[in-house]
Subunit: 319 residues, 2 copies
């Protein structure tokens, strides 16, 4: 009998992890997810060190259950973030966007569980070698920053499962009980959802952005800026300005200049749907209402359990 | 009790459909798949009208079970193909790459079941309106010609299921029992597999190409030529020549000239791994041996059935 390795690793009820997203996942969202049986994550990528500290303290006040901090390894003040995480005894850290060798040992020697986000088999193997406790394998359909291999979740998960021995969390395109069950059948031990929790009551995304996510249809997100860091966003005015630059064969410098600073904050946190960068995954097309984290997790688990039963009784699956 | 609509529609044993692929799927592969309980498809896109006729006749001799012909709607001699299909009473036609309104009525008035391949919700709705019996929803990870929306199978299937009432066949990234069960949990009634059947004993792909598919690793396929018709192929010398042209900001005309005529035949059928276009899906990374169609279908069904049981007893899925 194989146990669920993610439930065991983190000491949580359900192997549902909320992604640590810039401008959306502060202490409110993280603590709401953790209190509902999943694993909530504070996204430190959009936080100054003192802001991260406040969020950690508030999260600990709001829940006694495990939560994590997402640490983008290219963050400029990373030493300060790491000190804060260690000092305030954050039990779990999800690292991303960088070399897992740099901080894994330091974090683990402080009794912190470390998970690294990867987009390919090559990076998964590197992460396992660095000593992390688990990996997140994130497919092409995921929102925000994305891998260069463009491997989809459906293809990435079986390949990574086959390559590594540590637990695997699938991410990209997972929004509900059926996509969760699908990912676990492919070999994942648990799932991470970003897009679903952007459109969550406790998310700090701007209401205008949440509403735009609800209206998103299939085909409305685009992966772009591949010469800089590939990023998936909604097709809005800002995205179309980038397309225009591509049509003019603009240089990398011109693209960087257009991107400028604070585009994601402007769109996702301040609600500027015209000039902001609206990072979201393909699965946004499946989200129709903003619910609380508790309701989202309840709905996911109900669908997950119902489907497991259906598979064995419905003649659709029995031929 | 929902029945399996694909098994019923085609009168087959398992809802496993072999994709109609240029240069790989002649009568040998199609009849072997149909004889094994799936639905075999003759890919007419790479056949002259007289060649198609020979393949249909040989397929009928080799099996009494239903089979289909894939008909790319932009095929130059399409009237001749349609006449051959009607004359020889092919029971099922899969149309692709074109407007489903053009031929659906004509085919259906001849008692032929029609299925159309789509890459988006928009095209799925259009296909349903045209009167087809089912659609194939094909995701970004699929090999060969691909949609412009870049929606992955994991995200496309639930969106299309939600939009249409006719049966849905999922394609792209499906290679085995676990990906088949995943796609059906997402809402598909059946699955279509191309890549898996390229590397099949009865496929007419060149042995050198089959061997290259076995060696393919995660990240080895690329979607390119998006200005012409997006196509997913193996990263070989020909692909790198295209990349070189992109780096030089080459015009559409230069890309067309580089592509030339017969690139797919050269690579897939004649085995020129250097100068040929090697169309294959991302899931090629999961294929390790060339088996017969009968063995492939047996293995898929064994894994599918085993997984259905595991889900309800393994503690990995029960928390």
């Amino acid at each position: 009998m194989k146990e669920n390795r993610i439930v065991k690793l983190f000491g949580i009820k359900y192997p549902i992890i909320q992604a640590g997203m810039v401008w959306c996942s502060g202490w409110k969202l993280a603590s709401a997810v953790s209190s509902s049986g999943g694993l909530g994550i504070i996204g430190s990528g959009s936080m100054y060190p003192d802001v991260l500290k406040k969020h950690i303290l508030k999260c600990k006040k709001a829940t006694n259950l495990p939560f994590a901090v997402n640490l983008p390894l290219l963050y400029p003040n990373i030493e300060e973030h790491v000190s804060t995480i260690i000092e305030h005894k954050v039990p779990i850290v999800f690292t991303s966007a960088g070399n897992p060798n740099t901080w894994t040992k330091e974090l683990k020697s402080n009794n912190i569980k470390v998970v690294h986000v990867v987009s390919s088999v090559k990076f998964a193997l590197k992460a396992e070698l660095s000593g992390v406790d688990a990996v997140v394998a994130e497919g092409f359909e995921a929102g925000g920053h994305n891998g260069r291999e463009e491997t989809t979740t459906l293809c990435l998960v079986p390949d990574v499962v086959n390559a590594i021995n540590i637990p695997l969390i699938a991410a990209g395109g997972i929004v509900d009980g059926k996509s969760m069950l699908s990912a676990m059948i492919l070999g994942a031990d648990g799932v991470q959802m970003g897009t679903r929790f952007v459109a969550c009551k406790e998310s700090s995304a701007h209401d205008s952005f949440k509403n735009m996510v609800l209206k998103a249809k299939e085909g409305d997100t685009k992966l772009t800026l591949k010469e800089l860091t590939p990023v998936r966003m909604l097709n809005n005015n800002f995205y179309r300005e980038i397309v225009q630059l591509y049509q003019e064969n603009a240089s990398k410098e011109k693209l960087l200049k257009k991107l400028g600073k604070g585009r994601a904050k402007k769109g996702m946190y301040e609600g500027d749907l015209i000039n902001g960068e609206l990072e979201i995954g393909q699965a946004s097309s499946q989200i129709r209402e903003v619910y609380s984290a508790a309701q989202i997790i309840k709905d996911i688990m109900n669908e997950f359990k119902k489907l497991k039963q259906q598979i064995n009784i419905e003649s659709k699956f029995n031929f």
